[in-house]
């Protein structure tokens, strides 16, 4: 049986709780991949430099690496897409993942993320889990 691969997808924050769950799901032999999706507005070309947003996304991935240190095998992806769901679905189409985790910030999904999550629930081939950190979740790492 092949090792479990878990994708943790995020847009602008480091999903510490989701990463913790992902490591548990992946187990000793599995792999956790943290993907930061850079959403490029339609008014701009997909390859627009968007330096600040890219810097933030890199910061999220670095923070994720620190948060995941010592856990399962860990890797990162930085994606550009027209929407969060589009980026995640493209990655799921390109690579095999068994589980997809999306973390809702405290206070719930905002800024259209609920619609994006619905799209993922509808179209993602992998098992989709929405992680909502409880009040005990601390130490959220931000870029």
């Amino acid at each position: 049986m092949s090792a479990v691969r878990v994708l943790v997808a995020t847009d602008q924050h480091c999903p510490v709780t989701a990463l913790r769950h992902a490591a548990a799901l992946a187990g000793r032999d599995g792999e956790v991949v943290l993907a930061s999706v850079l959403v490029v507005p339609h008014a701009q070309p997909l390859e627009a430099s968007l330096d600040l947003a890219v810097a933030d996304a890199c910061g999220v991935l670095d923070a994720g690496e620190r948060a995941a240190a010592g856990a399962a095998v860990f890797d990162t992806r930085l994606l550009r897409a027209r929407s969060f769901a589009e980026g995640v679905l493209e990655l799921l189409a390109a690579e095999r993942f068994d589980v997809l985790l999306v973390e809702a910030p405290r206070g719930g999904l905002r800024n259209g993320m609920r619609g994006q999550f619905d799209i993922l629930m509808d179209r993602a081939e992998a098992t989709v889990i929405l992680v909502r950190p409880g009040p005990e979740a601390r130490g959220t790492l931000s870029p």
């Binding site: 390859e47 991935l61 994606l79």
Partner: protein, 371 residues
């Protein structure tokens, strides 16, 4: 003994077919003929465009060489005949063209090199997506894969590079007017390659590349201190960062860190990925590095792993690198640690004037096999 002068190469670059590269080349050919230069057409691809054919009128054409391949007659430039004709200037369309089997050279840019070596000036044309280093990027951005490519060096070594620019809207207008393709192909072209998004992207890429090539020519034009061919970096016009990212786990973090350093400096970033005999995991890591480089807007440069130090030194000189980033040598006495230490020693010794940033490796999770 007097050395024969090498001809000069001027390349008209465009973002796509139909912007008017061939027309501009012919126009200059006509101007120079009127001024008394001996001008011939070595190769012309008018693509059935009336304006292009009209602009070629009056220019002498060197007859093409016809070779039969599997019963099909294939025509290509008769390079030998162009050299034998010995004009002052030869017009050679479609620099990225791949010759028919059995020709002396596999690629037209090699034919052009032969003509230049004979002391004949050449005007030529190429679309930006044919540059080797842009092939993957253009494919990623537009979904279109170009099969015929030329090494970037050909453009960088050109004496003059001229961008034939046209707005995406103007090009689409030309397309709709039937000036580029026959009527039956227009609709499909507008829906596929000639979309506003694709053309906008290609136009930006073309502008950047031509600006880069012009930078390169400025470097060459300036007298450089030190011995000819020395490893001293040329005086840079701007900061440029190069990162060595081996196809192994953890290299993406190095690339991101180098990108941040480049961004702070307002610099371009080159990502050099040494490739030897890669196992499946290394191939996967290489592809991830390539993809990340594209996302970051960096230049991904796969190179042979053999003699990496020489390659990096050469690239640093050619591209005006001001800072080089690499993983810090591991402390252990293992093979990887020794190799990285040797590489660092060599780079420190040979890349005077280039800052070297050593980026600590952070082990995330368990080790995975590296390629």
């Amino acid at each position: 003994m007097q050395t024969a002068r090498r001809g000069t190469l001027k390349v008209y670059v465009g973002m796509a077919a139909g912007v008017g590269k061939t027309y501009a080349m012919l126009e200059e050919g006509q101007d120079r003929r009127r001024e008394g230069e001996d001008v011939v057409i070595g190769w012309l691809e008018p693509h059935g465009r009336a304006e292009t054919s009209a602009m070629a009128e009056g220019l002498e054409v060197v007859p093409p060489l016809v070779r039969e391949h599997r019963g099909v007659p294939l025509r290509d430039m008769d390079t030998g005949a162009v050299v034998a004709r010995a004009p002052a200037l030869a017009l050679v369309d479609e620099l990225a063209h791949t010759n028919a089997p059995g020709m002396t050279h596999a690629k037209r840019h090699e034919d052009v090199a032969q003509i230049l070596d004979a002391g004949i000036d050449v005007l030529s044309t190429v679309n930006i997506q044919h540059l080797e280093s842009l092939n993957d990027r253009v494919h990623e951005l537009t979904g279109v894969r170009v099969r015929e490519t030329i090494p970037d060096r050909v453009l960088l070594d050109a004496d003059e590079v001229v961008l034939v620019d046209l707005t995406p809207e103007a090009l689409q207008q030309r397309l709709r007017a039937g000036k580029i393709y026959p009527a039956e192909r227009v609709e499909s072209a507008l829906l596929n390659f000639f979309t506003s998004a694709n053309l906008g992207t290609l136009r930006e890429v073309a502008l950047r590349e031509v600006a880069g090539a012009v930078d390169e020519q400025s470097h060459r034009a300036d007298p450089r201190p030190g011995e000819p061919g020395s490893d001293h970096a040329p005086p840079p016009l701007a900061e440029r960062v190069l990162v060595i990212a081996r196809p192994e786990h953890g290299s993406q973090r190095l690339v991101r860190a180098a990108w941040r350093a480049a961004r702070r400096l307002g610099a371009e970033l080159d990502v050099v990925c040494p490739e030897g005999r890669l196992d499946d995991e290394a191939i996967r890591q290489r592809d991830l590095i390539r993809s990340l480089s594209v996302t970051l807007g960096a230049h991904f440069l796969p190179v042979a792993a053999d003699e990496l130090a020489d390659t990096v030194v050469g690239l640093a000189r050619e591209r005006g690198v001001t800072r080089l980033a690499m993983a810090a040598p591991r402390g252990g006495r293992g093979l990887v640690g020794r190799l990285r230490g040797d590489l660092l020693d060599t780079l420190l010794e040979r890349l005077e004037g280039v800052d070297i940033l050593l980026l600590a490796e952070r082990r995330a999770g368990r080790d995975r096999p590296a390629g």
